[in-house]
Amino acid sequence: MRNLVAAFAGALFGAGLLLSGMTDTTKVQGWLDIFGDWDPTLAFVLGGAILPMALAWRIAARRGTSALGTPFPPPNRSGADARLITGSVLFGAGWALAGLCPGPALASLTFGGAGGAVFLIAMLAAMLAAPRAGRWLDRTLPPKEPPWTSAP
């Protein structure tokens, strides 16, 4: 049942990414191109996505456990640390350069062509290397939370 729901959520997520234009790199880059030909579409995507989710968090707060029995993820109260900021800067840079983030990169797997495949392979390789780099970072930028596995 958990896997069926997960597949359904993934399917709905993928349909939403395609419908909203998030798999179109010109839309994403147009949103980030504030000083160029700015495209505000992404604000509508984010706004539309936050609405049902804000409602879901309210329902979750009242219920205590999910429908399939798993407890809801606790809020992360560790605040914004150096790791969060550094990672977000790097992610933002890559997002601007290609116009793809992880969800759309996967959603466009079948029609992204050679470029899409190169992006995906590089992204997966970096994700594979990240925990190792993270352990090195633990020594240089001590985290305030359990690394790599915690919820955002």
Partner: protein, 141 residues
């Protein structure tokens, strides 16, 4: 264009509903980088079937819709070096920050999570700066 905005809003509602289903039924935060990253680096442990099922839906449904609609195009740059660097930055950055546009942007902001709000503000700002440098300065993209 207003048509694009309407499609953006409808697509956004689908994305948010997907996150709501994943949270309320499975008790999980729908973060694309977290789900893929945990599968890639092996930290998914016993939750891997759930994560793999999510990915199957995420890849299959856009493929089917795009096919029925007569194909889709991502408009990615032809510069493979830029794409490879971008992929490395996205993969590493999202794992370091523990989230991307779905985890921090959709699930974090809607929960009024400080980390989600800060992360989203930082990656959008960084993206804007890199866009100025790479497009208007260097003419790279």
């Amino acid at each position: 264009m207003p048509t694009d905005w309407i499609f953006g809003l409808l697509g956004g509602l689908c994305i948010g509903s997907a996150a709501a289903v994943y949270l309320l039924c499975n008790g999980r935060i729908m973060g694309a980088s977290g789900i893929v990253g945990a599968l890639v680096d092996g930290s998914a442990n016993n939750t891997w079937p759930e994560k793999a099922s999510f990915l199957a839906g995420l890849v299959a449904v856009p493929a089917i819709i795009a096919n029925l609609a007569g194909g889709s195009e991502t408009h990615l740059t032809g510069n493979l070096a830029v794409i490879a660097v971008a992929g490395l930055l996205v993969g590493f950055g999202t794992r370091l920050a523990n989230g991307c546009t779905s985890g921090h942007g959709v699930c974090g902001i809607s929960r009024l999570s400080l980390r989600g709000i800060v992360a989203t503000a930082v990656y959008v700002a960084a993206g804007g700066v890199v866009m100025v440098i790479a497009r208007h300065g260097l003419g790279l993209i």
